[in-house]
């Protein structure tokens, strides 16, 4: 009976990677049609995606700007909220944290529709800035959670020691709180980054067809059928995710971030 567990997990891994593998293999097609298994394998599609086809290079550029911009903005917004929540625990701070997490918890299509109206009134509909701010609001919950976990992990004895030795709040913040929560801040940033990179429906309403990110471009091309260049995009995205989460696991404590029990190692 010992073999049932590993076999089940292996099957799950296989099922999980099946569509990804199929898409990746299709990227090697030499022609313009998607075949699986690939015919006339070549790396020509990679050149198209990264270098020669302006539709894709522009889309990739937009995706990158929105992802980095919104992740940075989300962290900047999440920090004061998480700190406020941790330091005071007041009712207002709890309410603000809950409100800030709301867009992430509700069906994204509703938030997307709302943001479409929102930017139409403010006059920013279809601008990259609107896209960045929208994604920052949508993914605010992620750095908020990771930074809160980081703040909770600070040993209060350190803070007591600093206070007894006469450190001011600012010094304590700079020398104890900031360095100890840095890995959690970085994790929150990268979670927001990767999810923004892959997000589709909110961007669809906010961009108003003025520009497209890679996911939007792919969705637009769905009707005309798949091309192997789209599969290259898929490979790029899954690679970025794997790299980012490996980095988080390497330099941060991924099981802890995901809520694992601390007593067992």
């Amino acid at each position: 009976m010992k073999w049932i567990g590993p076999v089940f997990m292996g099957l799950a891994a296989l099922g999980l990677s099946l569509p990804i593998v199929v898409v990746s293999a299709a990227a090697l097609n030499g022609g313009r049609t998607m075949f699986f298994p690939p015919r006339d394998p070549s790396f020509g599609r990679f050149v198209e995606f990264f270098v020669s086809e302006s539709v894709w290079t522009n889309a990739l550029w937009h995706s990158v700007i929105v992802a980095f911009g919104s992740a940075a903005l989300a962290v900047l917004l999440a920090w004061p909220i998480a700190y406020w929540l941790w330091a005071s625990g007041s009712k207002l701070s709890k309410t603000v944290a809950a409100l800030g997490s709301m867009p992430f918890a509700l069906p994204p299509i509703v938030f997307g529709v709302g943001l479409g109206f929102f930017w139409a009134f403010l006059g920013g509909l279809g601008s990259l800035a609107a896209g960045i701010i929208s994604h920052a609001a949508l993914f605010l919950a992620l750095p908020l959670v990771t930074i809160s976990i980081g703040l909770q992990s600070i040993d209060r004895a350190h803070l007591d020691a600093a206070a007894t030795m006469g450190a001011t709040e600012r010094v304590t913040f700079r020398t104890i709180i900031l360095p100890q929560t840095l890995p959690y801040t970085a994790s929150g940033f990268f979670f927001a980054l990767v999810l923004s990179f892959n997000e589709f429906i909110v961007m669809f309403f906010v961009s108003a067809s003025n520009y497209s990110t890679v996911t939007l471009q792919i969705f637009n091309s769905l009707r005309n059928g798949y091309t192997p260049t789209m599969a290259v995009a898929a490979i790029t995205f899954i690679t970025v995710s794997l790299l980012v989460f490996s980095a988080v696991a390497r330099w941060g404590d991924l099981p802890r971030l995901m809520g694992a029990d601390q007593s067992r190692r």
Partner: protein
């Protein structure tokens, strides 16, 4: 508690704070503006009035809601088209979320019994697949399930189709809408829709169940085992009762998320079985251009989600009181 933890220490802000800090209110304002106002706009516009052949205007009319429940031409004519779409939204979301949680439970349990390093490796893999955009996942399944490549072709080439025909199961598949006269077909079908949606949230299910299962005390199961309970008895009497609430909670969260699923339904469901999410899209950005009606549908979708969350909360607290 020390002085360092007092509230009047607005350390993350660049400027030194005045006596009565204003930044909490500033922060509250920003969050309300960015995260709440869009939802309020949806609610407000859902009462708006559509002008024929033009945009819409602010108003307070219930015509959009009336249209959702009984159709625009009521009382001369009644149509339940939009209610039907809501039904399909609920149906897909419920089946897919339950399926995902049930299959993720044993997996997560096994994962939490691994070493910390192995857990981290699995988590990287799961998070990468979780964050992969819906468009890529749909693309992958589309290639796998489409008639000219993928599974149907595999069925044909390996002779599985002929075997199914010989055994007589092929007719059953045709009745279920999973076969054309020549071969099996998965596009478009309910099975493909639910499968893809379930796949979409499966890594989420693992991540949501992970904390509860990883806190499960292994000595409890061991004690049960030493007293002679088989693995199934242990699972039924020790593991399941202690994760009942996270199970319900995760299912609800995934359900709410799936209510808004868009790409998988457009690609895998036949038009007659499309969902409210698609109708919202059509009304706001698509051919119909009726923003107030789209907003009203979005409000109804939100209310449905809220209703389920509310009853889920009731259910879990009742279960918690009993336990």
């Amino acid at each position: 508690m020390t002085a360092a933890l007092d509230i009047d220490a607005p350390a993350p802000l660049p400027e030194p704070a005045p006596k009565k800090p204003v930044w909490p209110w500033l922060l509250t304002g920003v969050i309300v503006f960015l995260c709440v106002v869009p939802f309020i706009l949806v609610l407000a516009i859902s009462f708006g009035h559509k002008i024929q052949g033009a945009g819409w205007e602010w108003a307070f009319t219930l015509e959009n809601y009336k249209r959702f429940f009984v159709g625009a031409l009521y009382p001369e004519e009644i149509t339940y088209l939009y209610l039907q779409q809501l039904y399909w939204s609920l149906r897909y979301a419920i089946i897919a979320s339950v399926l995902a949680v049930i299959s993720a439970l044993p997996f997560t349990y096994l994962m939490t019994r691994l070493s910390r390093a192995a857990q981290a490796r699995w988590l990287v893999f799961l998070l990468a697949s979780l964050s992969l955009s819906e468009v890529f996942i749909v693309m992958g399944w589309d290639i796998l399930l489409s008639n000219n490549s993928g599974l149907p072709k595999l069925f044909k080439v390996t002779g599985l189709t002929d075997w199914l025909k010989a055994v007589g199961w092929f007719d059953t598949l045709r009745e279920w809408g999973l076969a054309s006269p020549r071969n099996v077909k998965f596009k478009t079908s309910e099975l493909a829709t639910v499968l893809c949606m379930s796949y979409l949230v499966w890594p989420y299910a693992v991540i949501l169940l992970y904390p509860a299962l990883s806190r499960l005390d292994p000595s409890l199961s061991e004690a049960a085992r030493t007293m002679g309970a088989g693995p199934w008895t242990v699972a039924r009497t020790v593991v399941l009762p202690s994760v009942r609430m996270p199970l319900i909670g995760s299912t609800l969260l995934l359900f709410v998320f799936l209510l808004g699923a868009y790409v998988s339904v457009t690609v895998f469901a036949e038009p007659a079985k499309h969902t409210t999410a698609i109708a919202i899209y059509e009304a706001v950005r698509g051919a119909n251009l009726n923003a107030p009606f789209g907003a009203a549908q979005a409000v109804i979708l939100l209310l449905t989600a809220a209703l389920f969350l509310f009853f889920g909360q009731k259910l879990t607290s009742a279960a918690g009181a009993k336990a």
